[in-house]
Amino acid sequence: MDLAKYRNLFLEEATEHLAEMSRALLILEKHPDDGEAIDLVFRMAHSIKGMAGSLGYDSITEIAHKLEDRMDAYRAVGRIEVVEGIAMLFRGLDGLERMIDVVRESGEPPPPDLELANALSPDAASGAAPDALEEPEKKCLRRAQTPRRRGVWVRRRRRPRSACAPRAWIAS
């Protein structure tokens, strides 16, 4: 594999993705239920994870994966939690930017950022994605039990009708 070629492709594409994520987060600050912006941040994080994983940039893969999981939880409930949630997403974005700068400047995989990785974990005290959501919406989610996704919020297979049915349906 021509590592230099792929590193340049990665730097180019990841930089564009981070810029798009940043724009989408600014939209979400004002419109936390903007589904298109939520989906875009999810896809950008997913894409950075895939590219970084292919190049063995494990620290970037880890942070992007945690952001992706967070956004997946927000996708499930249709909105983000504005104050702590958005702050954590910006923190994750800043972390990815720093790591990608390291690759750009040194050509080497960046070192892990354990503090950021822990902060982005679903069990972290601040900004854990669905904890700040209303109780009825939390009933639609559960913590995954599989070894790889343990603790990540995922949609319940059987949704409690009263909590998860579309509002118009509940009203009828």
Partner: protein, 122 residues
């Protein structure tokens, strides 16, 4: 030569797949960067095989897969997934995908999966 259409929103991934499969005798006849474009390119190019990412803009890979299979139930589609997408992979297989490849790609595994898919077809 087997004609392949690659669908992934990351040009990095499309290039990587191209670099893996072209030396092994596959011809990449087209690339698509979203779930709408892949359906259009499928109609236009009639590839022997499609390699398609699950997470794509406009229409997801699974949605695009369903669109292609509705047009051509014999379409040979291999999905590209990431770890943690097992449920989506199962959904894709049920919707008509022939097989799947997990990122990060192992070149020998990519080629083996494509060959296995084509053997099953013949």
């Amino acid at each position: 030569m087997t004609r392949v259409l690659i669908a992934d929103d990351a040009s990095f991934m499309r290039q990587m797949i191209r670099d893996i499969i072209e030396p092994e005798g596959f011809e990449v006849v087209g690339e698509a960067s979203d779930g709408v474009e892949v359906i259009e390119k499928f109609k236009e190019l009639h590839p022997d095989l499609v390699m398609m990412d699950i997470v794509m803009p406009k229409r997801s890979g699974i949605d695009a897969l369903k669109g292609i299979v509705a047009m051509d139930p014999t379409a040979q589609i291999v999905m590209c997934s990431a770890l943690g997408q097992e449920t989506l992979v199962m959904e894709a297989i049920q919707a008509g995908a022939k097989d799947f490849i997990v990122k990060p790609f192992k070149p020998e595994s990519v080629v083996a999966t494509l060959r296995k898919t084509l053997e099953k077809e013949s």
